[in-house]
């Protein structure tokens, strides 16, 4: 495998391009995924298209040039319409990647996912498959305010028939995206916009990462921290800082939040006896509370203290820079919680 560093955005772009080369039924559909439809000066001399946007973040730049407007399809701003069309196309032979520009727009796109795509196979007695990848964007930190900054993967994760993956780094983003496209079910692929510029080692080759498997980022025996997406970096910072005090933290990147990897998390808790879950979602009815409830049920006897969750507060995402910073879980907040959990440990070891 070749070693090279690319950004999180490039990794996803590359995954989409490779899957589109491999499988002609893969299409990309969404608002301004190319941009500039029917603008003459964006047609090159050889008849190929340039894009005006390539997605609002520029993530899908170049795809329309290689694959044409028949496979990189700009839609009107009509989320219900094109998500319904993506479900219909998925049920009948295409393998669409449909982009929801911000996960906050799910209000207009939800029915095709919730009531149609997620349930068709079940309602049809197993006689349909819906190989649909929903690419969307979550997360606070960009000053994008209450309707462009939410973390809503947990909402999708509450729907039977939908898988939800949340990559935390460029390598995972590419491998999970290719796995999502290959999957014969509705897979929501939720990208944190604050990770777009993150660079990391990404092989050029086509590879997949198994959906539903967590990644043990670092091993430790004193405290388990389960983290999602951008929060994995927070977990690692906490592990570094506690490591200085001799506390060995195991960091688990959940990678998939539905179905999430119960086995890996429970095995870890059996070893450490302590669990913190970090999730940027609002604090109730989310992935962190789900992990906590399952661990409390299945590993209660192994716990040396209460399970702690560190989430965003139960508020909308504020706009002002200082309020937004206070909103997002960070290492200091996790450390305050961790101190309580490991106080006995530190007294004994230091």
């Amino acid at each position: 495998m070749t070693e090279r560093k690319v950004t999180f955005m490039t990794a996803i772009n590359e995954a989409m391009a490779q899957s589109m080369r491999k499988d002609e039924t893969v299409i990309l559909i969404g608002t301004d995924v190319a941009g500039g439809a029917e603008v003459d000066h964006l047609v090159q001399d050889d008849g190929r298209y340039d894009d005006a946007f390539g997605g609002v973040f520029g993530l899908s730049k170049g795809l329309v040039t290689e694959f044409g407007r028949e496979r990189v399809i700009d839609t009107p701003i009509a989320e219900h319409g094109y998500f319904s069309a993506a479900v219909g196309a998925a049920a009948t032979g295409l393998r669409p990647i449909a982009e929801l520009m911000f996960n906050d727009f799910v209000g207009f796109a939800l029915d095709p996912i919730l009531n149609q795509g997620a349930k068709m196979r079940y309602m049809f007695g197993g006689k349909a498959k819906i190989p649909l990848t929903v690419r969307t964007v979550h997360g606070a930190g960009a000053g994008a305010a209450a309707q462009h900054s939410q973390t809503l993967y947990g909402l999708f994760g509450a729907i039977p028939g939908v898988k939800v993956v949340v990559p935390s780094n460029p390598y995972d983003a590419k491998g999970l995206m290719l796995a999502a496209i290959e999957d014969d079910n509705v897979v929501v692929f939720s990208e944190d916009k604050m990770l777009y510029g993150m660079k990391g080692d990404v092989p050029e080759e086509y590879y997949t990462i198994e959906i539903g498997k967590a990644n043990v980022v670092r091993e430790g025996s004193d405290l388990t921290i389960v983290a999602i997406g951008k929060m994995v970096q927070v977990a690692e910072e906490v592990a570094d800082r506690l490591g200085g005090d001799g506390v060995k933290v195991e960091v688990i990147d959940l990678r998939t939040i539905s179905p999430w990897d119960q086995e890996t998390v429970i095995e870890s808790v059996k070893k450490t006896g302590r669990l913190i879950v970090i999730d940027e979602s609002n604090p109730h009815n989310n992935t962190a509370t789900d992990v906590a409830s399952v661990v409390a049920d299945k590993a209660f006897d192994y716990l040396d203290g209460p399970i702690k969750t560190v989430c965003a507060p139960n508020t909308p995402v504020p706009f002002a820079a200082n309020l937004e910073k206070a909103y997002i879980p960070d290492a200091d907040k996790v450390l305050r919680v961790a101190e309580e959990l490991i106080s006995d440990l530190k007294i004994g070891t230091i």
Binding site: T31, D74, T75, I77, G107, F108, G143, A144, A145, A320
Partner: protein, 315 residues
């Protein structure tokens, strides 16, 4: 007669333009977080409509909402502070550019959701009808929003209930980076109105007087209990969809590209003796001063107190 409103219109047009130019500069300096969508170029629409509204009338706005807010009478200092995320902003710094609002002025908010305002405006009109209040509601929306399903639901509902609402489409030719001519099966938005059993009027959205006259007719119809009107204003945005947009989709042949609604109104108003050259210059200077003061106010305003993160969730 638009003549009586000329000075007010010209004042508001200039305030909007200077405001947006300042926001453009301030954003460029990195003092404004997030996403900003500028209204410059479309001033004739907001002012032509709002010249006929009172504080008690409601409007719903869009992500491109600064112009609507100014024309509806929102405090300009409070707007600038809001856009910079400061304590003295209209929303305490918690909403930002895409959520500028002042319900006391009848401004039901800029909106981060394209097509989010159709039903809300219908609801404000329902309040007026139910309580017998003689107020109207205006829903501003873009050509992009006209292709959302909410367009259909909002217009149909307003029509069957004969609600006093006016749907004002600001067709600036592009929904984000996609031309309207590609995104819409109908050539115009206005021509869809007969399907909802309401008048559909297409006007030159760079001409305040045209917008004003169409709005006047629509308000009369609404207040007579005859229901909604759809007005499509053909316009253009001078800046990109958002600040930072390369605008690769724009062409030299775009209609209205080289037009400026403020210059056009200035010439017309002076020629028709609705306004003197001296008055025009005074208004321009005053507007510039108003905006400069707003910027200074906003820059001096502190960040909000952290405790406000947790307030205003429930009544």
């Amino acid at each position: 007669m638009i003549k009586e409103k000329t000075l007010w219109i010209y004042q508001k047009m200039n305030e909007i333009r200077f405001f947006e130019e300042e926001v453009h500069r301030t954003f460029g300096k990195g003092l404004i977080p997030g996403f900003v969508h500028l209204y410059a170029g479309e001033e004739a629409v907001a002012t032509g409509v709002m010249a006929l509204l009172n504080d008690e009338d409601y409007i719903t706005s869009t992500h491109r909402g600064h112009g609507h807010a100014i024309a509806k009478g929102c405090d300009i200092k409070g707007m600038m502070a809001e856009i910079m995320g400061k304590r003295d902003g209209l929303g305490g710094g918690k909403g930002g550019s895409m959520h500028v609002a002042d319900i006391d002025k009848g401004m039901l908010g800029a909106n981060g959701i394209v097509g989010g305002g159709f039903g809300i405006a219908a609801g404000a009109a329902l309040t007026s009808k139910t309580l017998g209040l003689d107020h109207v509601a205006v829903c501003f929306f873009g050509d992009g929003a006209s292709n959302e399903g909410t367009f259909h639901e909002g217009l149909n509902l307003a029509s069957i209930l004969d609600l006093p609402v006016i749907f004002v489409c600001e067709n600036n030719q592009f929904g984000e980076g996609t031309p309207f001519r590609y995104a819409s099966a109908s050539e115009t938005v206005a021509e869809r109105a007969p399907a909802y059993n309401m008048p559909g009027i297409r006007v030159d959205g760079m001409d305040v007087e045209a917008v004003y006259e169409a709005t006047k007719t629509a308000i009369e119809r609404a207040k007579a209990g005859k229901g909604p009107t759809l007005i499509e204003c053909d316009t253009y945005r001078h800046y990109g969809h958002f600040e930072g947009d390369e605008q690769k989709y724009k062409t030299d042949n775009d209609p209205n590209k080289d037009r400026d609604p403020i210059t056009e109104f200035r010439e017309k108003a002076i020629k028709n003796q609705w306004m003197t050259e001296k008055q025009a210059v005074e208004i321009e200077e005053n507007a510039k001063k108003t905006i400069d003061e707003a910027v200074a106010f906003a820059e001096e305003s502190p960040l909000p107190d952290i405790s406000t993160l947790y307030t205003d969730i429930f009544a």
